[in-house]
Every structure is written in structure tokens, then in C-alpha cells.
């Protein structure tokens, strides 16, 4: 179990982006997340792994308050972003989500043109001064989302007309177009072929220069390739959290070991 000593926490103060303490999530009577403590560092890729239904998506959604949209969901504990409690009454979830972007497990492009899908965020946050500015943001985001070459000739075709993998990359591009500080990605590569997966992983690596990225994945290889920190969830508990290399080569908890070896074989 990851338990940072007090002295180490002080050292990490500048680099800790999100810090969660004693987080509980309930869906009605279901206790989906139990007592989770986690520090997510700035300019780092953190991977969440664990069997299906263990609460990875649920915890991810706590980090930008997307669980607010689910009536039955109830959250306890503290989650601090840059030292500020994001569940504080003063915090506007809308502003929070502009800072903490999200790519969903299932691709969900808007029924608008590819261009408008990307321009959506910049428009509502007023990030572009003029049309040329916006065009530039759109192009840059699509390039970073590794989809520019495929759509540059049909920017005004509907985004829903793309293939599943293309839609997912469109959603990634849409999320980074708003320039978030933290990007939460829920299985972003589950619908992608190896080439696109490689491109997205490259993007994640690139994003690490300036942002903090949290990625949920079922692929151990992917977690090992892209992340510096890994958290293993099991039945709503955070079983183990630490350096990716250490988790994969020398896990402390037997559950982690059996999960990793079971998957990798």
C-alpha cells in the first residue's frame, strides 16, 4: 500500500497536481469507491489499471466532478486540485472541467461537423480572438490527435460519420483543444488499431511536457509504455500505487501481482 511519509509529502508539494484523501463514492446503496488516497503529480502520466467494474472510471469521473451529472452518485472525502478543494461550494464545476478535460470510454462526437466538434470548447471558453485563430487551434488539435491527415479534406463533414477509431481520436483532439491542465482519458485506445494507438501514445508522451495525464487502460503493455506512475484498483479499493517500473517488476501486494501476471501471462 502506498503510504507517503510526511516528510516526502512536503517535498512533493510543488509537483502534486491532484491530491485525493479518503474518497468514497456511492451509487445509491452500492459502495463503488472505498477510502481512496492518491496524489497525482504534475507533468506525469498516471495509469489506472484493474479488473472491469473495479471503479476506475468512477474515480476518474470524481476528478472533474462528472459524477455530478449522475443523480444517484454521492461522493465523500477531499479532492484537492492545486491545493483547492474541488468539491467546495465556491468552486464552479464548469470552470473546473475546463481545467480538467476528459476523454470518455465510448467515443461521443457531437452531431456537428468535424470542425465544429473541435471548435466547440475554444468557442465556449473564448480562446480564439478571430476566425484565423480558431482555424489554427482546430488544425493544431487535429494534428496532435493524430487525425489531421484523415480529415483535413472534409472538416465540414459530420463528426458522427467517422469510423469508431477516428471518432475516438476526434474526441481526444476535442479535449486538448481547450488546453486543459489535466487530461483524464478513459480507455482512449480501446477502439484504435496499433498504428493509431502508437500515435495516441506519442501524443500522451508529448502532453506530459506541460500537463498531467491520467489514463485508464486494460492493456498492461500500454500502462508500462506510457505511464510513470501506476495505480491498481480492485473492488473499489486502491490496492497499490507507485512507480510504474516498481509495480510491474516488483509489486508489493499479492493481488497486484496475480492481476499483472494473469494478464501478461
Amino acid at each position: 500500500m502506498y503510504d507517503a511519509p510526511a516528510s516526502e509529502q512536503k517535498v512533493n508539494q510543488q509537483t502534486t497536481k491532484i491530491s485525493a484523501r479518503k474518497v468514497q463514492v456511492y451509487y445509491g446503496d452500492t459502495h463503488a469507491i472505498k477510502d481512496v488516497d492518491v496524489d497525482i503529480e504534475d507533468r506525469t502520466v498516471t495509469a489506472f489499471i484493474g479488473p472491469s467494474g473495479c471503479g476506475k472510471s468512477t474515480f476518474l469521473r470524481c476528478l472533474n466532478r462528472m459524477n455530478d451529472t449522475i443523480d444517484v452518485a454521492r461522493i465523500e472525502g477531499d479532492i484537492l486540485l492545486d491545493g483547492e478543494d474541488i468539491y467546495d461550494k465556491k468552486v464552479d464545476p464548469v470552470q473546473l472541467r475546463a481545467k480538467v478535460g476528459m476523454v470518455f470510454q465510448k467515443p461521443n462526437p457531437f452531431p456537428k461537423s468535424i470542425y465544429d466538434n473541435i471548435a466547440y470548447g475554444p468557442r465556449i471558453h473564448g480562446l480564439a480572438k478571430n476566425k484565423a485563430d480558431l482555424d489554427e487551434i482546430v488544425e493544431k488539435s487535429l494534428r496532435r490527435g493524430a487525425i489531421w491527415n484523415e480529415v483535413k479534406d472534409r472538416l465540414h463533414a459530420p463528426g458522427t460519420g467517422l469510423s469508431g477509431g477516428q471518432q475516438q481520436r476526434l474526441c481526444i483532439a476535442r479535449a486538448i483543444a481547450t488546453e486543459p491542465e489535466v487530461l483524464l482519458m478513459d480507455e482512449p485506445c480501446s477502439a484504435l488499431d496499433p498504428i493509431a494507438t502508437g500515435q495516441v501514445e506519442e501524443l500522451i508522451d508529448e502532453l506530459r511536457e506541460s500537463y498531467s495525464v491520467v489514463i485508464v487502460t486494460h492493456s498492461m503493455q500500454q500502462a508500462a509504455r506510457v505511464s510513470q506512475k501506476t495505480a491498481f484498483f480492485h473492488l473499489g479499493n486502491l490496492v497499490e500505487y507507485g512507480e510504474t517500473g516498481q509495480i510491474f517488476t516488483n509489486p508489493v501486494d499479492p493481488r497486484t501481482e496475480s492481476y499483472i501476471t494473469g494478464r501478461i501471462g
Partner: protein, 490 residues
């Protein structure tokens, strides 16, 4: 034998056939139902179907054909001299039928003996007097030929009835015997029953379709008849609506444009009221309202849809009209002459359409996937931004479809405009003036005492046809749009 008893007997034969068929099939398999091709009840049903269905079909056909046949024969019997100059064969036949009916009733009351009613040499005056005594309505026009014809009519009808009873019963018994003969283990009773069920369903569907076809055809024939009496160009392009009921034909102006304008204007006012309110209510209910509010507000809105339109009409006439008159009438702004006006009818019609628009839109907004909203919230959009920029555009085709359906209801609505809009056909822009609609004029053209063969009455069919074509077009267009929208998410 009364039809009711006949039906009961045939059903009883069918029921008996069911039991016997079932038993016989089981017996043929040595009492073990596993050796049967179908379940025992299928054999029973097979017998029952064969006993009941052909018998009932024969009965229905007989009941339809017999009156025609009898009327034709009796009508052929009437000599030309029995038909007065200012009358027609049809009117005389009505007289014959009435006399026959009178005699039937008199015999049933015991005031007239069967022999007397059938007596070929009976005196007209005597019969008439006895019928009058029996309280039957008899006109003075009962003459000797009519009396003879009426007597013949009675005889033919009663023998026809007896023959039918016998034929139906024989057919039913034959059918059940046939079914029983088939009730053997290897007989495929299930397939027969399946096919009969199919035939029943096809029959029900074709009745619905044929009725529609019949309605359309009757509209078409009468419309064609109208255009033979009145020029089509005058009807479609005439700017004046002034039917005259006194002088037959010629002097009437039957231009549809003022009526279409009234229909259009009132519908427009109604939609201006109903669309924003209905749509906003739908957005509130589907996006903002808590489940608790939603669970009682939605049914409440739907109750509004269940109010009969005549009640809305009363509301227009007695409440909204006087209210508007108080504000815009002579005491107020002075631009409204009477309570009945485009505004009155339009407002009330709009209120009627609110639940229609809101409940359709609500369903459509709910069909927009939650993932779409999540995507927008995840980018830091507010609730209203999400609704305005993602939910509504995604639901737009469906909402347009809902609005078109509402428009076609507004165009076809009658009671509210009859009571609320006034009766004057007018081409005017002032919404506080009385105007009238196509539907209201159909009512007034047919409820007068006009001759149904005159253009003033037949115009109702041409109006109805026009309305039908317009609403049909709108409905098809709306359904097309709604369907296109559905495909997006399926």
C-alpha cells in the same frame, strides 16, 4: 329467428365441435397427446373455426345482399303509374318500406293479424286506418300498388330470413363434421389454426385500410361532382367566399382563399403560442426538473391533452374572447369588435397544442444520448450551453417533426374555431377581426338545410379534400423528418 339467436346457436355448434374434435383427435392417438401432430386444443380449434367462420361469412353476405335483392325485385314490381310526377322511384320505395315496417310493428303488437297483413285484396283505406290506430306513421300516399308492394316486401324478407337461418345452420353443421373427420393424429391442425389467425389479422388490417380508401374515394367522387357544377379555378383562386342558399347555384362565390388564409392565420397564432411554451416546458421537464417534479408535472401536462376540444371551444367563447375584448375592445384599445377573433381562436388552439408539442419534444430530447451531454460538460460547458449547442441541434429534426405534426392538428381543428373564430370569411391582416377556417365552413355548409346535390353543399367535400391533402402532406413530411432523425442514433 332473430339474428342474435342464430349467432348464439352457431357459436354453440362451434364450442361443441371444439370439445368433440379435441376428444376425437386424442382418441385417434390412443389417448397419448405426444403421438399427435399438434396439441389437442389445435384440433378442437380447427373444428370450431370450420363450424363458425364459413357460417358467419355466409350470414354477413346474406344480410348485405338480401335487402338489395328484395328492394330491386319489389321496385321492379311497381308500375310506372304508381310513381307520381313530382316524385321518384326511390321516394316511393321509401314509402313501401315504411308501410311494411308499420305492418310488421302492428302485427307484433297484435293489432293486426298475420292473414290480414298479408291479404292481397285488403282495402287500402282499411289498412291505413288500422296502421294509424296502431300508432304507426303512415302518410296519405299509401296507394293500392304501394300496399301490394309492401306486402310483397314483407313476404320476401321473412322467407329470406328463414332461408338464411337454415342455410347458415346447415353450413355450420357441415363445417364441424368436416373438421371432425379431419381430427386424426397426423392431421396438421396447428398449421390450419396459425393460418386462420393470420387471416384474421390480415382481415383487421385490410378493414382499416379499406375504410381509409373508402373515405378518400367518397371525398374524391363528391369533389369531382362539385367541380362539374362549379369551376375549379374560381374555387382555388377566388378571393370571395359568399355562398347563397336562396337562389340555387350561379349566384354563390365559393373561393377557398379567404378560408385558407383564416386557417393559416389562426394556425400561425396557435403555433406561435404553442411552440415556444411547449418546447421550453419540454426542456425544463427533461433537463432541469428533478425526478419528483417530473413524475407529477408530465402526467399533468398530458391531462391537458385529454380535454375534449369542445371544452376548449367553450373556454374560447366564454373566457378568452370576453377577456381579450376587455383589453382590445371599445373600452380598451378599440381595435377589437367582438369576442370571436383570430386571436381568441389562435390563443386557445395554441394552449391545446402545448401538451402535444411538449410531450413529443420531451421524448425526442430524452432520446439524445447522455454521452452527448457528458461530452459537452466534460469540455467545461454549462447546462444551458450544452442544451443550446448540443442537445437541441441533435434533437432539432425530431422537434421540427413534432411542430409539423402540431401544425397539421391546428389546421384540422374544428370545434375551437367554430366557437372562437367567428363566421366571416375575410382576407385581413388584423388578428383581432373575426375570420373563419376551412373546417368551420365545412360544418356550416353541411348543417344548413341545403340540398345535398347543390354546389353550396358539395363544396364541403372539395374543402375537405383540400384540407386532407394539406394535412396529409404535412404529416408525411413530418414523419419523414422524424424517421431521418431516428436513424441517427440507431
Amino acid at each position: 329467428m332473430p339474428i342474435f339467436w342464430l349467432v348464439l346457436i352457431v357459436l354453440a355448434i362451434g364450442a361443441a365441435g371444439y370439445v368433440a374434435g379435441r376428444r376425437r383427435a386424442l382418441a385417434s392417438a390412443g389417448g397419448d397427446s405426444r403421438h399427435l401432430h399438434s396439441l389437442p386444443s389445435y384440433y378442437g380449434s380447427n373444428v370450431a373455426i370450420k363450424a363458425v367462420v364459413p357460417a358467419f361469412l355466409l350470414m354477413i353476405v346474406w344480410l348485405l345482399v338480401q335487402p338489395l335483392y328484395v328492394s330491386n325485385t319489389v321496385s321492379g314490381m311497381l308500375p310506372q303509374s304508381a310513381i307520381p310526377d313530382n316524385s321518384s322511384r326511390g321516394l316511393v320505395m321509401a314509402e313501401v318500406r315504411r308501410a311494411a315496417e308499420g305492418m310488421n310493428n302492428a302485427v307484433a303488437q297484435g293489432l293486426m293479424s298475420e292473414e290480414f297483413a298479408g291479404n292481397a285484396r285488403a282495402d287500402v283505406a282499411d289498412v291505413t286506418q288500422r296502421l294509424k290506430d296502431a300508432g304507426q306513421i303512415v302518410t296519405s300516399q299509401v296507394t293500392q300498388p304501394i300496399l301490394r308492394a309492401a306486402q310483397r316486401y314483407r313476404v320476401m324478407n321473412s322467407t329470406g330470413g328463414q332461408m338464411m337461418t337454415i342455410a347458415v345452420l346447415v353450413l355450420s353443421v357441415l363445417g364441424s363434421l368436416w373438421g371432425l373427420r379431419e381430427s386424426q393424429a397426423e392431421y396438421r391442425a396447428r398449421n390450419i389454426v396459425e393460418r386462420s389467425i393470420r387471416a384474421l389479422l390480415v382481415g383487421a388490417a385490410s378493414i382499416a385500410v379499406l375504410t381509409t380508401l373508402g373515405i378518400v374515394l367518397s371525398l374524391v367522387f363528391n369533389t369531382v361532382e362539385f367541380f362539374r357544377l362549379y369551376p375549379a379555378t374560381d374555387f382555388f383562386f377566388g378571393l370571395n367566399w359568399a355562398p347563397s342558399f336562396s337562389g340555387r347555384g350561379g349566384s354563390s362565390d365559393l373561393g377557398i382563399l379567404p378560408l385558407l388564409w383564416g386557417t393559416f392565420y389562426i394556425s400561425l397564432v396557435a403555433l406561435v403560442v404553442a411552440v415556444p411554451i411547449g418546447l421550453f416546458a419540454a426542456i425544463y421537464l427533461s433537463e432541469y426538473a428533478s425526478p419528483r417534479i417530473r413524475s407529477f408535472a408530465k402526467p399533468l401536462l398530458e391531462v391537458l391533452a385529454g380535454i375534449p376540444t369542445i371544452v376548449y371551444g367553450l373556454f374560447a367563447l366564454l373566457t378568452v374572447g370576453p377577456l381579450l375584448l376587455g383589453v382590445f375592445g371599445d373600452e380598451g384599445l378599440g381595435i377589437m369588435q367582438a369576442g370571436t377573433a383570430v386571436m381568441t381562436a389562435g390563443l386557445v388552439l395554441g394552449i391545446m397544442l402545448i401538451p402535444f408539442v411538449s410531450s413529443l419534444s420531451d421524448d425526442i430530447i430524452n432520446a439524445v444520448p447522455q454521452a452527448m451531454r457528458d461530452g459537452s460538460y466534460g469540455l467545461g460547458a454549462t447546462k444551458s450551453e450544452t442544451i443550446k449547442q448540443v442537445v437541441l441541434p441533435a434533437a432539432l429534426p425530431g422537434i421540427v417533426g413534432a411542430i409539423l405534426l402540431a401544425a397539421s392538428r391546428a389546421i384540422g381543428e374544428t370545434m375551437i374555431v367554430v366557437l372562437g373564430a367567428g363566421a366571416a370569411a375575410r382576407l385581413s391582416l388584423n388578428p383581432f377581426e373575426a375570420m373563419t377556417t376551412v373546417t368551420a365552413k365545412i360544418v356550416s355548409q353541411l348543417t344548413g338545410d341545403a340540398d345535398f346535390a347543390s354546389p353550396e353543399a358539395l363544396v364541403a367535400f372539395a374543402l375537405g379534400m383540400t384540407l386532407f391533402v394539406i394535412t396529409l402532406g404535412l404529416n408525411i413530411f413530418a414523419l419523414y423528418i422524424v424517421r431521418k432523425y431516428r436513424e441517427q442514433y440507431e
